[in-house]
């Protein structure tokens, strides 16, 4: 393929171009946040804005969700391979959410628009966003007991939804007729497409300033630069073979764990992430698509190297992936995969970090809480009258590191999402949140402890609400490392109106799994508690500095009992 052969562009200009790409994506993100309809976007920021070259390489991104930034090149490359570059005309917008065409899971939709320069597509601006309702068997399209992709929502191969700036109305009608909340989807898709318009204008300014050939050469050289950067980082790691494993506690269908296993080979300036020892794929939706596994591997490496690397497809090149189709880390058609992206991804990434602990023990962290506590609900709003659904997530603890405690209550590593403010949640949906707290003693002890988890209680204020959940780590714990203790499990519990205590969903509703279920109907006055998971600690807790133990005690993050038991505190 023809790449512009310009001489090496100076490093200052390359930095400038990289920053310009980052800024284009940030600005898209601001437009998306400010104009979208669903809290998962305008509060949660569960989307990522990006730029691609005409080969589908990621060339620009900003501080969005790692899983989307790692996987988007596969969706884009698929799109180009399937429909061809010539299919893109000015004003066209394509959409694509098919996990069996390189997308990470069904709710995440990639919209892209080609930016035209001198009559030809110069590259693409894109936005991957987790659309909160895309049909399927469960409101909020998080079908925790689905056994096929077809139950998870509407599959869209790469198709054109804007043709020369005009809505392809027949298609929009099909899409919106398959969503439970078409008006919200309409607003959200507008925001996604609007962000592309904003980006297109900015990229055109850059093209005017630099010219198409120069900007292409600069982005190619940035890809090469990031590749060199990553190779230099890997080359610094000791050669060797490193192993790690962890499991998903169940798949919502069968009450047994599913294991992912990594044999990591560091050799010279390349890494091979071999997942062949992982379990076969699950019947339930905890399977990761190949692109999710690839993104987890990239993200794992990016987390242990310098923060200065420009993030693009070049950075991913030295990391090679080996998987077996039909396994937990590479689901085969028609297996379900909605939870693979949100729940299995952080587990996979923790396994990557655990394996890397053998190579760079000072740069990894212990395992994090690693569950977004996906909680979805839908129903008719008693006041507004219309049907709503919402996708709600919680933060968990991050793992302890060699020189500091893990962060408390943070979005798991696969995303970079925000929580939804209580005041916004209650204004939009018929719940009253009665508490939202940090869970004391929820972190694994260590020389540097894990991050703490959160707890939230919802009280239902509508006659009925249909709820779905997809959690993990309710029976397992995020392991500590080098003598650190594991974090506390997560959990979702129900207190029926009139009851005095919270109980498990299996007990009250007979669900197979306590953490993964759909279409449970709760009624006015019921209370639901979402506990996220704490993270593992790093190093022997007895080596923790006494002033840190005392400060945790003083602020109530740990109890006196825990201080004595885990840290041998005598004071």
């Amino acid at each position: 393929m023809p790449t512009q052969q310009l001489e090496q562009i100076d490093s200052v200009t390359l930095s400038v171009v990289n920053n310009a790409f980052v800024n284009v994506c940030r600005e898209m993100g601001t437009a998306m946040m400010r104009t979208s309809y669903s809290p998962i976007f305008n509060e949660g920021l569960d989307f990522s804005c990006m730029m691609f070259n005409t080969r589908g390489d990621l060339i620009g991104q900003a501080e969005f969700c790692p899983t989307m930034l790692g996987s988007c090149q596969y969706a884009m490359k698929w799109m180009l391979d399937e429909v061809g570059l010539d299919a893109f005309g000015p004003g066209d917008v394509y959409i694509h959410n098919d996990p069996y065409r390189g997308q990470n899971h069904l709710p995440e939709h990639l919209v892209v628009k080609a930016v035209f320069w001198e009559g030809k597509p110069w590259g693409f601006v894109g936005n991957v966003a987790h659309v909160g309702e895309v049909g399927g068997m469960a409101p909020g399209s998080f079908a925790a007991d689905a056994t096929e992709v077809y139950q998870e929502g509407l599959r869209l191969p790469p198709i054109k939804i804007m043709d020369g700036g005009e809505y392809v109305r027949d298609l929009w009608k099909v899409i919106l007729s398959n969503h439970r909340t078409p008006k919200t989807s309409w607003g959200d898709y507008h925001a996604m497409i609007g962000s592309l318009h904003v980006a297109e204008a900015r990229v055109l300014e850059l093209l005017e300033k630099y010219g198409g050939d120069f900007l292409s050469a600069a982005s190619d050289q940035l890809l090469d630069y990031s590749e060199r950067f990553m190779r230099a980082e890997i080359a610094e790691m000791p050669d060797g073979v490193y192993y790690a494993q962890d499991c998903m506690e169940d798949d919502g269908i069968t009450d047994k764990p599913y294991w992912m296993r990594l044999k990591l080979t560091i050799k010279g300036d390349e890494a091979i992430c071999d997942w062949l020892d992982s379990d076969d794929q699950a019947r339930g939706p905890i399977n990761a698509t190949f692109v999710v596994t690839a993104a987890s591997c990239y993200s794992g490496f990016l987390h242990v190297i310098s923060d200065d690397i420009p993030i693009n497809s070049g950075a991913y090149r030295p990391i090679r992936i080996v998987t077996r189709p039909g396994s937990l880390v590479n689901v085969k058609h028609p297996g379900p995969s909605v939870g693979g992206n949100t729940e299995t991804h952080p587990h996979i990434q923790n396994v990557v970090l655990r394996a890397l602990a053998g190579a760079v023990p000072d740069r990894i962290s212990a395992a994090e809480g690693a569950s977004s506590c996906n909680f979805l609900f839908g129903g008719f709003h008693p006041e507004y009258g219309d049907y709503y659904t919402n996708y709600h997530i919680e933060g968990s603890g991050w793992g302890g590191t060699v020189d500091h405690d893990g962060n408390d209550v943070l979005c798991p590593n696969n995303g970079n999402c925000r929580n939804t403010p209580v005041e916004i949640l209650e204004t939009k949906y018929p719940f009253v949140v009665s508490e939202y707290r940090i869970r004391n003693d929820s972190a694994g002890a260590g020389r540097f402890r894990g991050g703490l988890a959160s707890s939230r209680v919802f009280r239902v204020t509508a006659p009925e609400i249909t709820i779905n959940a997809l959690f993990d780590r309710t029976k397992t714990q995020g392991p500590g490392i080098f003598g650190g203790e594991p974090g506390t499990s997560s959990g979702i519990f129900i207190k029926k109106k009139g009851d005095t205590e919270f109980r498990r969903f299996s007990e009250v509703f007979g669900t197979v799994s306590d953490s993964k279920f759909t279409r449970v109907i709760v009624t006015e006055g019921d209370e639901i508690m979402l506990n996220s998971a704490g993270a593992g600690g790093y190093g022997n807790p007895l080596e923790r500095a006494r002033d840190l133990v005392e400060e945790d005690l003083r602020q109530g993050f740990i109890s006196r009992d825990a201080a004595v038991k885990s840290y041998g505190y005598q004071g």
Binding site: S11, N42, F229, G395, V409, G556
Partner: protein
């Protein structure tokens, strides 16, 4: 000979500039700041200015007291009072992180200790209806908790921040808490979230009210010591303080809501930049205030200063009060150059500061800074830095640049040029954040550059941004103080009331807006303003379903259904302009009604310089200076004080003055305005 005085209390220097209202004569003074007792430097500056006490007509002060208290974490011990069950919100924050691929990033520590976050049993719903009433027993329990803390913390160091859920809809419980707490603890200041920031999102509102409490004791101390010092000198002129929104306010109002002075010391620069733009007939300006360690960039568009309510103390610690829209980056003369793992040259954000300072200070600094690079390029006069107060060691700087260059395969000039280029690129990026990121074309803007280091880099940065005009004010080292001098009193008020566009009530809106307008005018009067104020109204709106609002100006006149319709139409138009689409027929939510009143005061004129007819044409000296694309050039060096009105030259040239150096590149044209303001046309 009444003299109006503006003072800027910075981290290193306290600057004063005054204008004699009768003669337009300028007086200036620059004294070292006295961070422990900022008022001392203020009084010293007044004394040094030579203006007699009875000649001072008015005094306004910009101060970084609040900014520094926040940045150095030396504020109050805050007690955060909130709805029971939500005590951890300041620590939970928003769950996202600044760096998306990093295990090193650490969540910001809130300005309140967790043990001091106290819950009270009470609850409102989203309509503001009471779900759980606030009982007397609850108040008593809270008083016991607060009482216990009084013995633990130093006297005078406590402040209470109250943030209850949905207080922006119904403030009743917050007001009752205030009355109770003031009565019970009259010595502890209380801040209320619905007053400081009447917005939804409990974390952002809470973070803002915590920040207000955090700086309250220190600002109250600052205000009272200033008041005492002025009284001790029998200074009885009106005096005021700069606010973050670029207006000024009375001492009393600064004590009541000190968070509104967060950017007091930074806003002056933009106000002054606006003034100089107006003076030259320029409506679109970027202001660049660059010192040793930081660089503040502001934006003036269509003759108007931009505003924001999204300021962050650091990533994740928002302050949601109106501020002049500015962005600050860690880039200045002291920024350090380094080479990253991939072999790329980078500059900053680490700074060598004043101690040890750049290599050329010869005070132990070993890391190359931007100042070193400028020195090696010949742009700085080694014998006249800060008016000759610091001698610069050229040989050391050259040696350091040579070594850095060897690692990059560059000679010392190319290495120095690269360092300067990258530093300027960082500043250009700060400009991009304010301009390009908002869809504005910087090429349509002129760059107003000041601060000690601004005029040196301005032409480079402007070139990078495709800008064609640079403005260097008179006394560029005192521009922020000049901003304080000319700032006008400004009052904002907000009515938070929710309507849907299909069910607005023009009559109610009209009544409330009239009340708001009356309120802002009353406050302006209280601040000593006697003239006719300018009042503007706007409505914060969004499409039904969206979560973020857009402020849309409301036309003047009585609020009628027709006028509301026009305002709604304007929302569609603004949405289309910003985001490339509008959704016609969609319901719009009206969230807040905003009123702002400004008291226009006559702005002093600058004195005129002599023209060519009177003063001799300056005769420049020369010095070798490196210019990219030209190599080392024998460059004319001029003293600014020698330049008459109407003077013009074509670069290369360097114009030196006591606290700043202006660099004119080959081919650029310098013009001196009758007031002494320099413009450079690129």
């Amino acid at each position: 000979m009444p003299v109006r005085i503006g003072i800027d209390t910075g981290g290193t220097f306290t600057d004063l500039i005054g204008v004699d209202e009768a003669t337009n004569r300028l007086v200036i003074a620059k004294t070292p700041s006295t961070p422990r007792r900022p008022v001392e430097a203020v009084m010293n500056a007044i004394e040094n200015s030579g203006v007699t006490n009875d000649a001072i007509a008015a005094l306004s002060i910009g101060t970084t007291v609040a900014t520094n208290a926040l940045l150095t974490r030396r504020g109050a011990n805050v007690i955060y009072v909130t709805t029971a069950g939500f005590e951890d919100i300041p620590h939970i924050q928003r769950m996202n992180r600044k760096l998306h691929f990093s295990l090193k990033w650490r969540k910001p520590k809130p300005l309140v200790e967790r043990r001091n976050c106290l819950g009270v049993v009470e609850r409102l719903d989203f309509h503001g209806r009471v779900l759980i009433p606030l009982e007397v027993a609850t108040l008593e329990a809270l008083a016991t908790d607060i009482e216990a803390r009084r013995t633990e913390y130093p006297e005078g160091s406590l402040a209470i921040a109250v943030c209850l859920l949905f207080s922006y809809v119904n403030p009743d419980h917050e007001l009752r808490l205030r009355d109770f707490l003031r009565n019970r603890f009259p010595d502890i200041p209380v801040s209320l979230s619905h007053e400081v920031a009447p917005i939804w999102r409990e974390y952002e509102r809470g973070s803002t009210v915590i920040a207000d409490s955090y700086v309250k004791p220190i600002m109250q101390e600052y205000v009272s010591t200033t008041r005492d010092a002025l009284e001790a000198e029998h200074l009885q002129m009106p005096w005021s303080l700069m606010k973050s929104n670029g207006g000024k306010t009375t001492a009393e109002s600064a004590e009541a809501e000190p968070i509104k002075l967060l950017l007091s010391g930074l806003a002056g620069g933009i106000i002054a930049g606006h003034y100089f733009g107006q003076l030259l007939g320029l409506d679109n300006l970027v202001t660049l205030d660059m010192g040793g360690t930081s660089c503040d960039v502001g934006l003036i568009r269509g003759g108007k200063i931009g505003y924001s309510t999204n300021f962050e103390i650091e990533f994740g610690l928002p302050v949601a009060t109106p501020t002049i829209d500015l962005t600050t980056i860690g880039a200045g003369g002291g920024s350090i150059a380094w080479i990253d793992k991939g072999g790329l040259l980078r500059v900053g954000p680490q700074s060598a500061g004043a101690d040890p300072g750049p290599v050329c200070y010869d005070a132990g600094g070993t890391e190359v800074t931007v100042t070193d690079a400028n020195l090696v390029l010949g742009r700085l006069n080694p014998g006249y830095f800060l008016g000759g107060k610091i001698g610069l060691n050229v040989a050391k700087a050259e040696q350091a640049l040579t070594q850095l260059g060897e690692r990059l395969g560059l000679d010392k000039h190319a290495a120095a040029q690269a360092v300067v280029d990258i530093a300027n690129e960082n500043m250009a990026n700060a400009i991009r954040v304010l301009s390009i990121d908002r869809g504005l074309d910087p090429r349509e803007f002129a760059l107003v550059a000041f601060g000690g280091a601004g005029p040196l880099s301005a032409c480079d940065i402007a070139t990078k941004m495709g800008m064609t005009k640079v403005v260097v004010p008179v006394y560029p080292g005192l521009t922020s103080a000049f901003g304080a001098l000319i700032a006008e009193p400004k009052v904002n008020k907000v009515w938070s009331k929710h309507f849907r566009s299909d069910s607005t009530d023009a009559e109610t809106v009209d009544r409330h807006l009239k009340d708001l307008v009356a309120g802002v005018i009353t406050e302006l009067r209280a601040e000593g303003f006697a003239g006719e104020p300018t009042v503007s109204r706007s409505v914060s709106m969004r499409y039904w379903g969206q979560n973020y609002e857009q402020d849309v100006p409301m036309p003047d006149g009585e609020v009628t259904p027709e006028l509301l319709d026009r305002t709604l139409d304007e929302f569609h138009r603004v949405h289309e302009q910003f985001y490339g689409y509008s959704i016609s027929g969609e319901t719009i939510e009206l969230i807040r009604f905003n009123v702002e009143a400004t008291g226009h005061t006559s702005i002093p004129s600058l004195p005129s310089l002599p023209t060519n007819g009177h003063a001799p044409t300056p005769t420049p000296t020369t010095r070798p200076v490196f210019f990219q694309g030209h190599g080392v050039v024998d460059c004319p060096i001029l003293q600014r004080d020698d330049l008459p009105a109407g003077f013009r030259l074509t670069g290369p040239a360097i114009v030196e003055e006591v606290v700043s150096t202006t660099l004119v590149h080959p081919g650029q044209r310098l013009d001196v305005h009758p007031t002494g303001v320099m413009t450079i046309t690129l």
